[in-house]
Amino acid sequence: MAITFKSLSYIYDKGTPFAHVALDKIDLSLEEGKVTALIGETGSGKSTLVEHLNALLLPSEGELEILDYKMVAGHKTKGLKMLRKKVGLVFQFSEYQLFEETILKDVAFGPMNFGVTPEEAQKKAVKALKLVGISEDLFNNSPLDLSGGQKRRVAIAGILAIEPDIIVLDEPTAGLDPKGAQDIISLFMKINRQYGKTIIIVSHDNDMVYNYADEVVLMSKGHVVTKKETVEFFDDDALLDEYGILRPQIVMFKKMLKDIGFKLKGENRTLEDLSKTIVKEVRR
Protein backbone atom coordinates (compact mmCIF):
# COMPACT_ATOMS: atom_id res chain seq x y z
CA MET A 1 0.00 0.00 0.00
CA ALA A 2 1.36 3.38 -0.95
CA ILE A 3 -1.03 5.37 1.16
CA THR A 4 -3.11 4.32 4.16
CA PHE A 5 -5.53 6.49 6.12
CA LYS A 6 -6.51 5.12 9.53
CA SER A 7 -9.63 6.75 11.02
CA LEU A 8 -8.19 10.13 10.13
CA SER A 9 -10.15 13.26 10.97
CA TYR A 10 -9.34 16.82 10.15
CA ILE A 11 -10.97 19.79 11.85
CA TYR A 12 -10.38 23.34 10.61
CA ASP A 13 -9.96 26.02 13.32
CA LYS A 14 -10.23 23.45 16.07
CA GLY A 15 -11.43 24.91 19.36
CA THR A 16 -12.85 28.15 17.94
CA PRO A 17 -16.39 29.18 16.98
CA PHE A 18 -15.29 28.59 13.36
CA ALA A 19 -14.46 24.91 13.94
CA HIS A 20 -15.46 22.76 11.01
CA VAL A 21 -15.00 19.02 10.53
CA ALA A 22 -13.71 18.58 6.98
CA LEU A 23 -12.73 14.92 7.21
CA ASP A 24 -14.52 12.54 9.53
CA LYS A 25 -12.79 9.26 10.41
CA ILE A 26 -11.42 8.40 6.99
CA ASP A 27 -10.30 4.81 6.42
CA LEU A 28 -8.78 4.38 3.02
CA SER A 29 -5.85 2.72 1.33
CA LEU A 30 -4.51 3.42 -2.12
CA GLU A 31 -2.19 1.09 -4.00
CA GLU A 32 1.06 1.87 -5.71
CA GLY A 33 1.16 2.28 -9.48
CA LYS A 34 -2.56 2.85 -9.92
CA VAL A 35 -4.59 5.75 -11.21
CA THR A 36 -7.16 6.62 -8.56
CA ALA A 37 -9.89 9.17 -9.15
CA LEU A 38 -11.29 11.07 -6.20
CA ILE A 39 -14.81 12.33 -6.83
CA GLY A 40 -17.54 13.96 -4.76
CA GLU A 41 -19.51 17.20 -4.60
CA THR A 42 -17.91 20.53 -3.67
CA GLY A 43 -17.15 20.64 0.04
CA SER A 44 -17.01 16.87 0.41
CA GLY A 45 -13.43 17.08 1.69
CA LYS A 46 -11.51 16.06 -1.43
CA SER A 47 -9.08 18.96 -1.34
CA THR A 48 -8.53 18.59 2.41
CA LEU A 49 -7.74 14.92 1.90
CA VAL A 50 -5.34 15.76 -0.89
CA GLU A 51 -3.47 18.31 1.23
CA HIS A 52 -2.76 15.56 3.76
CA LEU A 53 -0.94 13.53 1.14
CA ASN A 54 1.76 16.14 1.05
CA ALA A 55 1.82 16.89 4.79
CA LEU A 56 0.51 20.39 4.16
CA LEU A 57 -2.17 19.46 6.67
CA LEU A 58 -1.50 17.03 9.48
CA PRO A 59 -4.22 14.81 10.90
CA SER A 60 -6.26 16.21 13.81
CA GLU A 61 -7.11 12.66 14.81
CA GLY A 62 -6.07 9.24 13.58
CA GLU A 63 -3.04 8.49 11.42
CA LEU A 64 -1.74 8.46 7.90
CA GLU A 65 0.97 6.36 6.29
CA ILE A 66 2.57 7.38 3.01
CA LEU A 67 5.38 5.22 1.66
CA ASP A 68 7.84 5.08 4.61
CA TYR A 69 6.37 8.06 6.43
CA LYS A 70 3.90 7.83 9.25
CA MET A 71 1.97 10.80 10.59
CA VAL A 72 0.08 10.38 13.81
CA ALA A 73 -2.19 13.07 15.25
CA GLY A 74 -0.45 14.99 18.01
CA HIS A 75 3.03 13.66 17.18
CA LYS A 76 5.70 15.49 15.26
CA THR A 77 7.02 13.66 12.22
CA LYS A 78 10.49 14.41 10.95
CA GLY A 79 11.58 14.64 7.35
CA LEU A 80 8.34 16.02 5.99
CA LYS A 81 10.27 17.99 3.41
CA MET A 82 11.56 14.80 1.84
CA LEU A 83 8.04 13.42 1.84
CA ARG A 84 7.17 16.36 -0.39
CA LYS A 85 9.82 15.26 -2.82
CA LYS A 86 8.19 11.84 -3.05
CA VAL A 87 4.63 13.14 -3.33
CA GLY A 88 4.14 15.86 -5.94
CA LEU A 89 1.01 17.92 -5.57
CA VAL A 90 -0.40 19.82 -8.53
CA PHE A 91 -2.90 22.32 -7.18
CA GLN A 92 -6.09 23.57 -8.68
CA PHE A 93 -5.18 26.55 -10.87
CA SER A 94 -1.53 25.69 -10.43
CA GLU A 95 -0.53 28.47 -12.84
CA TYR A 96 -0.59 30.90 -9.92
CA GLN A 97 2.56 29.38 -8.43
CA LEU A 98 4.84 30.65 -11.23
CA PHE A 99 7.20 33.42 -10.21
CA GLU A 100 10.69 33.14 -11.68
CA GLU A 101 12.01 35.33 -14.51
CA THR A 102 12.21 32.50 -17.01
CA ILE A 103 10.24 29.34 -17.58
CA LEU A 104 13.33 27.19 -17.28
CA LYS A 105 14.29 28.75 -13.94
CA ASP A 106 10.80 28.29 -12.60
CA VAL A 107 10.71 24.59 -13.43
CA ALA A 108 14.22 24.08 -12.03
CA PHE A 109 13.15 25.80 -8.79
CA GLY A 110 11.55 22.64 -7.33
CA PRO A 111 14.46 20.23 -7.84
CA MET A 112 16.90 22.83 -6.52
CA ASN A 113 14.88 23.16 -3.32
CA PHE A 114 15.37 19.45 -2.81
CA GLY A 115 19.12 19.76 -2.99
CA VAL A 116 19.87 18.96 -6.63
CA THR A 117 22.78 20.87 -8.20
CA PRO A 118 21.82 23.73 -10.55
CA GLU A 119 23.13 21.87 -13.63
CA GLU A 120 21.22 18.71 -12.73
CA ALA A 121 18.10 20.75 -11.96
CA GLN A 122 18.34 22.41 -15.36
CA LYS A 123 18.55 19.01 -17.06
CA LYS A 124 15.49 17.80 -15.18
CA ALA A 125 13.64 21.01 -16.04
CA VAL A 126 14.37 20.62 -19.75
CA LYS A 127 13.18 17.01 -19.64
CA ALA A 128 9.98 17.92 -17.79
CA LEU A 129 9.23 20.84 -20.11
CA LYS A 130 9.67 18.63 -23.18
CA LEU A 131 7.38 16.06 -21.59
CA VAL A 132 4.58 18.61 -21.16
CA GLY A 133 5.16 19.93 -24.68
CA ILE A 134 6.64 23.38 -24.16
CA SER A 135 8.88 24.18 -27.10
CA GLU A 136 12.49 25.06 -26.50
CA ASP A 137 12.32 28.59 -27.91
CA LEU A 138 10.03 29.57 -25.01
CA PHE A 139 12.40 28.41 -22.27
CA ASN A 140 13.83 31.86 -21.62
CA ASN A 141 10.52 33.74 -21.71
CA SER A 142 8.76 34.93 -18.59
CA PRO A 143 6.21 32.38 -17.37
CA LEU A 144 3.81 35.22 -16.58
CA ASP A 145 3.45 36.11 -20.28
CA LEU A 146 2.19 32.67 -21.34
CA SER A 147 -1.41 31.75 -22.12
CA GLY A 148 -3.47 30.06 -19.40
CA GLY A 149 -3.06 26.56 -20.82
CA GLN A 150 0.68 26.95 -21.28
CA LYS A 151 1.08 28.33 -17.77
CA ARG A 152 -0.68 25.25 -16.45
CA ARG A 153 1.74 23.02 -18.36
CA VAL A 154 4.75 24.88 -17.02
CA ALA A 155 3.38 24.59 -13.48
CA ILE A 156 2.89 20.85 -13.99
CA ALA A 157 6.42 20.57 -15.38
CA GLY A 158 7.56 22.27 -12.16
CA ILE A 159 6.18 19.31 -10.21
CA LEU A 160 7.32 16.63 -12.67
CA ALA A 161 10.89 17.96 -12.54
CA ILE A 162 10.97 17.03 -8.85
CA GLU A 163 10.42 13.43 -10.01
CA PRO A 164 7.95 12.36 -7.32
CA ASP A 165 6.80 8.75 -6.95
CA ILE A 166 3.21 9.74 -6.28
CA ILE A 167 1.59 12.53 -8.24
CA VAL A 168 -1.55 14.10 -6.83
CA LEU A 169 -3.63 16.31 -9.11
CA ASP A 170 -6.39 18.57 -7.82
CA GLU A 171 -8.64 19.21 -10.81
CA PRO A 172 -5.79 19.61 -13.23
CA THR A 173 -8.08 20.37 -16.17
CA ALA A 174 -10.38 22.98 -14.57
CA GLY A 175 -10.74 26.00 -16.83
CA LEU A 176 -8.91 24.45 -19.81
CA ASP A 177 -10.34 23.93 -23.28
CA PRO A 178 -11.23 20.32 -24.20
CA LYS A 179 -8.08 19.86 -26.28
CA GLY A 180 -5.82 21.22 -23.53
CA ALA A 181 -7.58 19.10 -20.93
CA GLN A 182 -7.21 15.98 -23.06
CA ASP A 183 -3.50 16.66 -23.60
CA ILE A 184 -2.84 17.03 -19.90
CA ILE A 185 -4.71 13.87 -18.98
CA SER A 186 -2.95 11.88 -21.70
CA LEU A 187 0.33 13.18 -20.36
CA PHE A 188 -0.37 11.83 -16.89
CA MET A 189 -1.53 8.51 -18.25
CA LYS A 190 1.73 8.27 -20.14
CA ILE A 191 3.64 9.03 -16.96
CA ASN A 192 1.66 6.33 -15.16
CA ARG A 193 2.21 3.68 -17.84
CA GLN A 194 5.83 4.51 -18.67
CA TYR A 195 7.27 5.29 -15.28
CA GLY A 196 4.82 3.36 -13.09
CA LYS A 197 4.03 6.38 -10.96
CA THR A 198 1.03 6.37 -8.69
CA ILE A 199 -1.51 8.99 -9.74
CA ILE A 200 -4.31 10.38 -7.63
CA ILE A 201 -6.60 12.72 -9.41
CA VAL A 202 -9.44 14.87 -8.07
CA SER A 203 -11.96 15.42 -10.81
CA HIS A 204 -15.48 16.48 -11.66
CA ASP A 205 -15.17 15.14 -15.19
CA ASN A 206 -16.68 11.67 -15.02
CA ASP A 207 -16.08 10.99 -18.71
CA MET A 208 -12.38 11.45 -18.11
CA VAL A 209 -12.53 9.36 -14.93
CA TYR A 210 -14.23 6.51 -16.79
CA ASN A 211 -11.67 6.61 -19.56
CA TYR A 212 -8.55 6.57 -17.48
CA ALA A 213 -8.93 5.78 -13.78
CA ASP A 214 -8.32 2.29 -12.39
CA GLU A 215 -10.27 3.00 -9.24
CA VAL A 216 -12.80 5.52 -8.03
CA VAL A 217 -13.09 6.85 -4.49
CA LEU A 218 -16.37 8.62 -3.78
CA MET A 219 -16.47 11.19 -1.01
CA SER A 220 -19.44 12.89 0.56
CA LYS A 221 -19.65 15.27 3.53
CA GLY A 222 -16.20 14.41 4.86
CA HIS A 223 -16.66 10.64 4.57
CA VAL A 224 -15.37 8.12 2.09
CA VAL A 225 -18.52 6.49 0.74
CA THR A 226 -16.87 3.78 -1.28
CA LYS A 227 -13.80 2.71 -3.23
CA LYS A 228 -14.38 0.57 -6.30
CA GLU A 229 -12.96 -0.43 -9.65
CA THR A 230 -14.02 2.22 -12.16
CA VAL A 231 -16.24 0.05 -14.36
CA GLU A 232 -17.86 -1.57 -11.36
CA PHE A 233 -18.45 1.85 -9.80
CA PHE A 234 -20.28 3.27 -12.79
CA ASP A 235 -22.35 0.07 -13.12
CA ASP A 236 -23.74 0.50 -9.63
CA ASP A 237 -26.98 2.30 -10.52
CA ALA A 238 -28.29 2.45 -6.96
CA LEU A 239 -25.12 4.18 -5.74
CA LEU A 240 -24.96 6.61 -8.65
CA ASP A 241 -28.59 7.60 -8.13
CA GLU A 242 -28.24 7.97 -4.37
CA TYR A 243 -25.36 10.41 -4.71
CA GLY A 244 -26.60 12.07 -7.89
CA ILE A 245 -23.50 11.21 -9.89
CA LEU A 246 -23.62 11.95 -13.59
CA ARG A 247 -22.98 8.88 -15.70
CA PRO A 248 -20.22 9.13 -18.27
CA GLN A 249 -21.57 9.47 -21.81
CA ILE A 250 -20.07 6.13 -22.82
CA VAL A 251 -21.86 4.37 -19.97
CA MET A 252 -25.16 5.86 -21.08
CA PHE A 253 -24.49 4.93 -24.69
CA LYS A 254 -23.63 1.36 -23.75
CA LYS A 255 -26.81 1.16 -21.73
CA MET A 256 -28.85 2.29 -24.72
CA LEU A 257 -27.15 -0.29 -26.92
CA LYS A 258 -27.92 -2.95 -24.34
CA ASP A 259 -31.55 -1.84 -24.15
CA ILE A 260 -32.04 -2.41 -27.88
CA GLY A 261 -30.45 -5.84 -27.57
CA PHE A 262 -26.98 -5.05 -28.91
CA LYS A 263 -24.37 -7.30 -27.34
CA LEU A 264 -20.98 -5.81 -26.42
CA LYS A 265 -17.83 -7.72 -25.57
CA GLY A 266 -15.13 -6.37 -23.29
CA GLU A 267 -14.94 -3.25 -21.12
CA ASN A 268 -15.05 -0.61 -23.87
CA ARG A 269 -13.94 2.26 -21.71
CA THR A 270 -12.85 4.68 -24.39
CA LEU A 271 -14.67 5.89 -27.46
CA GLU A 272 -12.08 4.20 -29.68
CA ASP A 273 -12.52 0.80 -28.01
CA LEU A 274 -16.27 1.10 -28.15
CA SER A 275 -16.38 2.01 -31.84
CA LYS A 276 -14.02 -0.85 -32.68
CA THR A 277 -16.22 -3.32 -30.79
CA ILE A 278 -19.34 -2.02 -32.51
CA VAL A 279 -17.73 -2.26 -35.97
CA LYS A 280 -16.65 -5.82 -35.20
CA GLU A 281 -20.10 -6.76 -33.95
CA VAL A 282 -21.84 -5.23 -36.97
CA ARG A 283 -19.52 -6.94 -39.47
CA ARG A 284 -20.11 -10.35 -37.90
Binding site: D13, P17, E51, N54, L56, K81, R84, K85, G88, L89, F91, S94, Y96, Q97, L98, F99, F109, G110, N113, F114, L144, G158, I159, I162
Partner: protein, 265 residues
Amino acid sequence: MNLVFGKYVPLNSVLHRVDPRSKIIALFVLLVAIFVPDSWWAYLALSLFCILLCALSKISAKTVLKTFKPLIFMMVFLLVINCLSIKTGDVLAEAFGFAVYSDAVFNTLKTVVRLLLMIIITTVLTATTKPLDLTLGIEYLLKPLRVVKFPVHEMAMMISIALRFIPTIIEETMRIMNAQKSRGVDFEEGSLKEKINAILSLIVPLFSVAFERAYELADAMEARGYVPGNARTRYKELKFGFIDAVYMLSAIAILAFSIFTKIYL
Protein backbone atom coordinates in the same frame (compact mmCIF):
# COMPACT_ATOMS: atom_id res chain seq x y z
CA MET B 1 -5.30 31.80 12.18
CA ASN B 2 -4.89 32.58 15.80
CA LEU B 3 -5.55 36.26 15.37
CA VAL B 4 -8.37 37.34 17.64
CA PHE B 5 -7.74 41.05 17.78
CA GLY B 6 -9.81 42.79 15.12
CA LYS B 7 -11.68 39.72 14.00
CA TYR B 8 -15.44 39.51 13.70
CA VAL B 9 -16.98 36.76 15.83
CA PRO B 10 -20.33 35.64 14.47
CA LEU B 11 -22.55 35.37 17.55
CA ASN B 12 -26.01 36.60 18.28
CA SER B 13 -25.88 39.10 21.12
CA VAL B 14 -27.42 42.44 21.98
CA LEU B 15 -24.19 44.15 21.06
CA HIS B 16 -24.15 42.51 17.65
CA ARG B 17 -27.44 44.24 16.96
CA VAL B 18 -26.45 47.72 18.10
CA ASP B 19 -26.17 50.25 15.27
CA PRO B 20 -22.53 50.51 14.09
CA ARG B 21 -22.67 54.32 14.30
CA SER B 22 -23.60 54.12 17.95
CA LYS B 23 -20.78 51.65 18.55
CA ILE B 24 -18.19 53.79 16.77
CA ILE B 25 -19.17 56.95 18.66
CA ALA B 26 -19.20 54.99 21.93
CA LEU B 27 -15.72 53.69 21.13
CA PHE B 28 -14.30 57.19 20.79
CA VAL B 29 -16.14 58.43 23.87
CA LEU B 30 -14.80 55.50 25.89
CA LEU B 31 -11.27 56.00 24.58
CA VAL B 32 -11.35 59.55 25.89
CA ALA B 33 -12.86 58.30 29.14
CA ILE B 34 -9.94 55.91 29.55
CA PHE B 35 -7.28 58.58 29.12
CA VAL B 36 -8.81 61.40 31.14
CA PRO B 37 -8.87 60.18 34.75
CA ASP B 38 -6.17 59.52 37.33
CA SER B 39 -8.41 58.15 40.03
CA TRP B 40 -8.66 54.41 40.63
CA TRP B 41 -12.41 54.87 41.14
CA ALA B 42 -12.75 55.84 37.49
CA TYR B 43 -10.75 52.80 36.42
CA LEU B 44 -12.88 50.56 38.60
CA ALA B 45 -15.99 51.94 36.92
CA LEU B 46 -14.44 51.57 33.46
CA SER B 47 -13.33 48.02 34.18
CA LEU B 48 -16.79 47.06 35.38
CA PHE B 49 -18.27 48.62 32.25
CA CYS B 50 -15.84 46.66 30.06
CA ILE B 51 -16.66 43.42 31.83
CA LEU B 52 -20.34 44.18 31.29
CA LEU B 53 -19.65 44.79 27.58
CA CYS B 54 -17.82 41.49 27.27
CA ALA B 55 -20.66 39.67 28.98
CA LEU B 56 -23.23 41.37 26.76
CA SER B 57 -21.28 40.55 23.61
CA LYS B 58 -21.12 36.85 24.58
CA ILE B 59 -17.41 36.76 23.70
CA SER B 60 -15.72 34.18 25.88
CA ALA B 61 -13.24 35.31 28.52
CA LYS B 62 -10.67 33.05 26.87
CA THR B 63 -10.92 34.99 23.63
CA VAL B 64 -10.44 38.29 25.45
CA LEU B 65 -7.48 36.96 27.41
CA LYS B 66 -5.87 35.77 24.20
CA THR B 67 -5.77 39.33 22.90
CA PHE B 68 -3.71 40.31 25.95
CA LYS B 69 -0.99 37.79 25.32
CA PRO B 70 1.15 39.82 22.89
CA LEU B 71 1.19 42.65 25.45
CA ILE B 72 2.96 40.78 28.22
CA PHE B 73 6.42 41.56 26.88
CA MET B 74 5.56 45.23 26.50
CA MET B 75 4.25 45.40 30.06
CA VAL B 76 7.41 43.91 31.52
CA PHE B 77 9.53 46.25 29.43
CA LEU B 78 7.47 49.22 30.61
CA LEU B 79 7.84 48.18 34.23
CA VAL B 80 11.62 47.97 33.92
CA ILE B 81 11.88 51.37 32.23
CA ASN B 82 9.59 52.98 34.80
CA CYS B 83 11.50 51.48 37.72
CA LEU B 84 14.72 52.89 36.31
CA SER B 85 13.41 56.35 35.56
CA ILE B 86 10.76 57.25 38.12
CA LYS B 87 12.19 58.17 41.50
CA THR B 88 9.21 59.63 43.37
CA GLY B 89 6.82 58.28 45.97
CA ASP B 90 7.63 55.79 48.72
CA VAL B 91 10.38 53.26 48.50
CA LEU B 92 8.79 49.84 48.08
CA ALA B 93 11.86 47.65 47.96
CA GLU B 94 15.56 48.12 48.05
CA ALA B 95 18.35 45.86 46.93
CA PHE B 96 22.02 46.39 46.02
CA GLY B 97 21.60 50.12 46.51
CA PHE B 98 18.79 50.26 44.00
CA ALA B 99 15.33 51.36 45.10
CA VAL B 100 11.97 50.71 43.49
CA TYR B 101 9.57 53.57 44.10
CA SER B 102 5.83 53.26 44.45
CA ASP B 103 5.10 55.79 41.70
CA ALA B 104 6.98 53.66 39.20
CA VAL B 105 4.81 50.66 39.98
CA PHE B 106 1.58 52.63 40.05
CA ASN B 107 2.40 54.43 36.84
CA THR B 108 3.07 51.17 35.06
CA LEU B 109 -0.07 49.67 36.48
CA LYS B 110 -2.11 52.60 35.25
CA THR B 111 -0.67 52.42 31.75
CA VAL B 112 -1.26 48.69 31.65
CA VAL B 113 -4.86 49.08 32.80
CA ARG B 114 -5.42 51.76 30.18
CA LEU B 115 -4.00 49.56 27.44
CA LEU B 116 -6.03 46.55 28.49
CA LEU B 117 -9.23 48.57 28.64
CA MET B 118 -8.50 50.01 25.22
CA ILE B 119 -7.98 46.58 23.79
CA ILE B 120 -11.17 45.29 25.34
CA ILE B 121 -13.35 48.03 23.94
CA THR B 122 -11.85 47.86 20.46
CA THR B 123 -12.12 44.08 20.47
CA VAL B 124 -15.73 44.35 21.51
CA LEU B 125 -16.37 46.72 18.60
CA THR B 126 -14.64 44.65 15.94
CA ALA B 127 -15.87 41.32 17.28
CA THR B 128 -19.50 42.37 17.30
CA THR B 129 -19.62 44.41 14.09
CA LYS B 130 -19.26 42.99 10.60
CA PRO B 131 -16.50 44.84 8.74
CA LEU B 132 -18.96 46.00 6.10
CA ASP B 133 -21.33 47.41 8.74
CA LEU B 134 -18.38 49.14 10.27
CA THR B 135 -17.53 50.89 7.00
CA LEU B 136 -21.17 51.75 6.50
CA GLY B 137 -21.15 53.34 9.95
CA ILE B 138 -17.97 55.26 9.17
CA GLU B 139 -19.47 56.45 5.90
CA TYR B 140 -22.56 57.80 7.66
CA LEU B 141 -20.50 59.50 10.33
CA LEU B 142 -18.18 61.13 7.81
CA LYS B 143 -21.03 62.39 5.64
CA PRO B 144 -20.77 66.00 6.89
CA LEU B 145 -17.27 66.12 5.35
CA ARG B 146 -18.84 66.12 1.91
CA VAL B 147 -19.42 69.83 2.40
CA VAL B 148 -15.69 70.34 2.01
CA LYS B 149 -15.63 68.07 -1.09
CA PHE B 150 -14.13 65.12 0.78
CA PRO B 151 -14.94 61.94 -1.22
CA VAL B 152 -16.64 60.13 1.66
CA HIS B 153 -18.47 57.57 -0.43
CA GLU B 154 -15.43 56.66 -2.52
CA MET B 155 -13.38 56.30 0.62
CA ALA B 156 -15.96 54.02 2.15
CA MET B 157 -16.13 51.99 -1.04
CA MET B 158 -12.36 51.62 -1.02
CA ILE B 159 -12.38 50.52 2.60
CA SER B 160 -15.14 47.99 2.01
CA ILE B 161 -13.39 46.58 -1.04
CA ALA B 162 -10.15 46.33 0.89
CA LEU B 163 -11.90 44.62 3.79
CA ARG B 164 -13.79 42.33 1.46
CA PHE B 165 -10.57 41.19 -0.15
CA ILE B 166 -8.57 40.54 3.01
CA PRO B 167 -9.90 36.98 3.40
CA THR B 168 -9.56 36.38 -0.33
CA ILE B 169 -5.95 37.49 -0.33
CA ILE B 170 -5.25 35.45 2.81
CA GLU B 171 -6.76 32.42 1.10
CA GLU B 172 -4.73 33.11 -2.01
CA THR B 173 -1.58 33.49 0.11
CA MET B 174 -2.26 30.16 1.80
CA ARG B 175 -2.78 28.51 -1.56
CA ILE B 176 0.40 29.85 -3.08
CA MET B 177 2.30 29.02 0.10
CA ASN B 178 1.04 25.45 -0.08
CA ALA B 179 1.92 25.20 -3.75
CA GLN B 180 5.45 26.44 -3.07
CA LYS B 181 5.81 24.18 -0.03
CA SER B 182 4.99 21.29 -2.35
CA ARG B 183 7.87 22.44 -4.48
CA GLY B 184 10.17 22.19 -1.49
CA VAL B 185 10.15 25.77 -0.26
CA ASP B 186 10.77 25.96 3.44
CA PHE B 187 9.13 29.06 4.89
CA GLU B 188 10.34 28.43 8.43
CA GLU B 189 13.97 27.45 8.17
CA GLY B 190 16.96 28.08 5.94
CA SER B 191 19.66 30.66 5.38
CA LEU B 192 18.90 34.31 4.71
CA LYS B 193 19.26 33.82 0.96
CA GLU B 194 16.90 30.86 1.01
CA LYS B 195 14.43 32.83 3.07
CA ILE B 196 14.50 35.75 0.63
CA ASN B 197 13.90 33.31 -2.19
CA ALA B 198 11.03 31.72 -0.27
CA ILE B 199 9.38 35.10 0.27
CA LEU B 200 9.89 36.02 -3.38
CA SER B 201 8.21 32.81 -4.48
CA LEU B 202 5.20 33.94 -2.46
CA ILE B 203 5.11 37.66 -3.23
CA VAL B 204 5.52 37.60 -6.99
CA PRO B 205 2.53 35.32 -7.65
CA LEU B 206 0.52 37.14 -5.00
CA PHE B 207 1.02 40.50 -6.72
CA SER B 208 0.16 39.06 -10.08
CA VAL B 209 -3.04 37.54 -8.68
CA ALA B 210 -3.96 40.73 -6.83
CA PHE B 211 -3.62 42.84 -9.98
CA GLU B 212 -5.63 40.35 -11.97
CA ARG B 213 -8.37 40.45 -9.35
CA ALA B 214 -8.36 44.24 -9.30
CA TYR B 215 -8.85 44.43 -13.06
CA GLU B 216 -11.62 41.84 -12.94
CA LEU B 217 -13.39 43.65 -10.12
CA ALA B 218 -13.15 46.98 -11.92
CA ASP B 219 -14.66 45.44 -15.03
CA ALA B 220 -17.42 43.73 -13.04
CA MET B 221 -18.29 46.99 -11.26
CA GLU B 222 -18.35 48.93 -14.49
CA ALA B 223 -20.48 46.26 -16.17
CA ARG B 224 -23.01 46.71 -13.39
CA GLY B 225 -23.10 50.45 -13.94
CA TYR B 226 -21.04 51.66 -11.02
CA VAL B 227 -20.06 55.31 -11.37
CA PRO B 228 -18.02 56.79 -8.53
CA GLY B 229 -19.79 59.67 -6.83
CA ASN B 230 -23.23 58.94 -8.24
CA ALA B 231 -26.15 58.84 -5.84
CA ARG B 232 -26.87 55.27 -4.81
CA THR B 233 -29.56 53.63 -2.75
CA ARG B 234 -28.71 50.98 -0.20
CA TYR B 235 -30.02 47.54 0.43
CA LYS B 236 -29.29 47.94 4.08
CA GLU B 237 -30.36 51.19 5.73
CA LEU B 238 -29.09 51.93 9.20
CA LYS B 239 -31.75 52.74 11.77
CA PHE B 240 -30.90 54.43 15.01
CA GLY B 241 -33.11 52.86 17.67
CA PHE B 242 -33.64 52.76 21.41
CA ILE B 243 -30.79 50.34 22.34
CA ASP B 244 -28.42 52.37 20.18
CA ALA B 245 -29.26 55.51 22.13
CA VAL B 246 -28.92 53.65 25.45
CA TYR B 247 -25.53 52.29 24.41
CA MET B 248 -24.20 55.68 23.38
CA LEU B 249 -25.60 57.42 26.45
CA SER B 250 -24.07 54.88 28.81
CA ALA B 251 -20.70 55.51 27.19
CA ILE B 252 -21.21 59.24 27.63
CA ALA B 253 -22.22 58.68 31.26
CA ILE B 254 -18.94 56.83 31.85
CA LEU B 255 -17.04 59.71 30.27
CA ALA B 256 -18.89 62.15 32.51
CA PHE B 257 -17.95 60.09 35.55
CA SER B 258 -14.31 60.00 34.44
CA ILE B 259 -14.24 63.79 34.08
CA PHE B 260 -15.97 64.16 37.42
CA THR B 261 -13.32 62.06 39.19
CA LYS B 262 -10.57 64.02 37.43
CA ILE B 263 -11.94 67.29 38.77
CA TYR B 264 -13.17 66.35 42.25
CA LEU B 265 -11.17 63.37 43.45
